[in-house]
């Protein structure tokens, strides 16, 4: 919560609270916006259940869907080539 001074009629200054902006969750690999990630402030996210905070998939909320697909495809190919 950002505190800002604002001049108010009656030659007084008043303290105004500004809610902080929520960041956009981006994929760690390709930088694309992540699906399934709610754009809420930390206090609101804390109230959510774990499955509401991010997609229930390995690397969900960290890598986008396509990057996880590529990752596991390469992993399978390298491991068993």
């Amino acid at each position: 919560m950002r505190k800002m001074k604002r001049r108010v009629p009656g030659s007084r200054t008043k303290l105004v609270y500004k809610r902080e902006k929520t960041g956009i969750h981006r994929c760690a690999n390709c930088g694309r916006e992540l699906h399934g990630m709610k754009k809420l402030t930390a206090s609101q996210i804390r109230k959510l259940s774990k499955s509401e905070r991010r997609p229930t998939r390995p690397y969900g909320g960290y890598l986008c869907g396509e990057c996880t697909r590529e990752l596991f495809k390469d992993r399978a190919r390298k491991q068993f080539s």
């Binding site: 229930t56 998939r57 390995p58 690397y59 869907g65 996880t68 697909r69 596991f72 495809k73 992993r75 399978a76 190919r77 068993f80 080539s81």
Partner: protein
């Protein structure tokens, strides 16, 4: 690219079960394939999976089309894949309960009235 024939072992690369192994049971059409883990071994349910969400591995297992989970399990055991993948064998009790479970009835086509019910509900909602 290895093809998706019956008994092909694949790894799921999309969805909740990403990174888990499964065996192809039946070819539904050129885009979909029926797959099972089996669930007690790899955690992949017996389900229809899109071919793009599967990565074929260079292993196959001799099973009949649409065979039961315990047959698939024995076939995997015989092919020595359980040790190769380092999977935990399900205990005999699990195998028994899995078998005892009644098979799910096939998806019944939703009867027509479902639509009418929905419309009447919307009308009521509008009236309120």
């Amino acid at each position: 690219m290895a093809s998706f024939e019956i008994g092909r072992v694949c790894m799921k690369i999309a969805g909740r079960e990403t990174g888990k192994y499964c065996v192809v049971l039946k070819k539904v059409n050129d885009a979909f394939v029926e797959v099972t883990g089996p669930r007690m071994l790899t955690g992949v349910k017996r389900r229809r999976a899109n071919v793009d969400h599967l990565e074929p591995l260079p292993f196959t297992v001799e099973i009949k089309e649409g065979s039961q989970d315990d047959e698939v399990l024995q076939a995997l055991e015989k092919a020595g894949l359980i040790t190769k993948f380092g999977l935990k064998r399900p205990s005999a009790a699990q195998v028994k309960t899995e078998k005892a479970k009644p098979p799910k009835e096939a998806k019944v086509e939703k009867p027509k009235e479902k639509k009418e019910e929905k419309e009447t509900k919307d009308k009521k909602a509008k009236k309120k």
